[in-house]
Symmetry: C2
Subunit: 329 residues, 2 copies
Amino acid sequence: MSDAQIAPKDAPFGIVIHGGAGVRERAEMSPELEREYRAVLEQTLAAGYEILKRGGSSLDAVEAAIRVMEDSPLFNAGKGAAFTNAGTNELDAAIMDGKTLKAGGVGIVKHIKNPISLARLVMDKSPHVLMVGEGAEMFAREQNVELVPQSYFYNDRQYKSLLERRKLEIPFGGSLKTTSGLISPGEGDSRLYGTVGAVALDKAGNLAAGTSTGGRVNKKPGRVGDSPIIGAGTYANNESCAVSTTGLGEFHMRLLTAREIPVLMTYKNMSVQAATDEVMLRRLVKFGGGGGAIAIDRQGNIAAQFTGNGMYRGYVKSDGKTVVQIYKD
Amino acid sequence: MSDAQIAPKDAPFGIVIHGGAGVRERAEMSPELEREYRAVLEQTLAAGYEILKRGGSSLDAVEAAIRVMEDSPLFNAGKGAAFTNAGTNELDAAIMDGKTLKAGGVGIVKHIKNPISLARLVMDKSPHVLMVGEGAEMFAREQNVELVPQSYFYNDRQYKSLLERRKLEIPFGGSLKTTSGLISPGEGDSRLYGTVGAVALDKAGNLAAGTSTGGRVNKKPGRVGDSPIIGAGTYANNESCAVSTTGLGEFHMRLLTAREIPVLMTYKNMSVQAATDEVMLRRLVKFGGGGGAIAIDRQGNIAAQFTGNGMYRGYVKSDGKTVVQIYKD
């Protein structure tokens, strides 16, 4: 008997997704492009919702949702990954099971089409939590995972972003506002962010979180960001909530952003919304950082918070009503 | 004017070190060998104490102390690093500054004599928090760090441990009690552990933590453990305490052990000793894990807790009295 069969018929479930905080300014967003973004976000939600609705696990829903965004060139993950300062693509991802606290992550993989699925295999089929580089790819081959050449990840938008940064000698972590002037990480820049993530609650009451990214443009080769780090970019715990973050990873790694939201729920009795607001809008900003986070708790309450002009995001809950948003409004 | 000059003359300071939980059983520990262990632990404490006494920073004390243990073949870090299942040595380390929450870590580096010093450079001289593999070594070359061949890390004790494990087909994470029978990770096995770490409080009231390891014997190439992960194996925050852990890293990564101890101090108002006991003796054990942790708070209160038969450890505080211990008593 599956979990779905024993779950009450009206058990709440839901999935929240993000495609990165810091979105194109409205002037740079054509109606056609906005439609493209919205279409992929809707497709992502549908992939997760179908699994949850039929009683599938939150882990499966998170993985399926993230694969859709990884396969789109619009987001900085999988196909649309950003470039390192050496002109290579090095991808990070992680997934975590809120029921068992099992987790899997991969760092700086260069030939993996869907890093979220390799992270899942690290969790399910290896004794490890984090595998990186060539060792992670050796493990992928053992597991018959599809490998792709680096050229698979080439895309004009990301490569131009690297060239622009090199030309203007913008330091790592610095952001560019339209075509002039540096802005703080908190203000957001569509050419920097784009990490994708999903958090879900299934009918059996289990939470899961996942995150996948090409990493910050212009990073040094070998740099691992927050996405594959449990507690920094990805975290799930049935005691509190599931979280996926986006933004300049170095801040999340030092603040343990993805763990701090559940910590505030567990120890300060905050709601998922209050905890997410506290960490993202106060602590992270006070610390000089910026970005976004999504979260869901066991009752199906959700939060999506960010510091910049917007965050590609969406959710669908038990009622099947799909909501997709980009800007702050 | 340096911090030392403005600090009150009686400002507390101190350093706590570990050389891994799970020590050789008494029957396997000759008096000569015990003297060797104690001598290195004393030398380690002296290196840190001298810096703290003259008003140096806790970061400098932690780095200097860990370098001594990295240079000894007795511990599973630097010179004495364990082997992967491919027969290679891949080292992890991290350091964190409790004042600024700045942090640096390196993962699976193969040619770095003192990974703790490269972690310090990642913190001080790169925009990143974690760098791994060849990218981390490229950064090391840029920073004129001494590179060594893999043969530098060869040592009989660790290689025999790998061969024994291969022969008996002991799974990763499984432990061997003397020469027969698997034991739980919590019971300790000197051939598995040996990660080294240090936490310190300086006269200016700043905390720092550092950890360095060769990783668990028989790990897959590319596996990153808890030591270089901020919040898992290493954490420091002037608001609460500095922590370094040892044990099967995968458990610490899922529990966020090094962050959970300060969380309990901040949100549950526990003492550093009570928080360390709660996380190491109750939560970690309940979770099926084992190992050890050391911690120090801003008043100079210290904790050193472990689940097995012992932990190579020691401390020295403002009074200059050096204490070194190995077994539980």
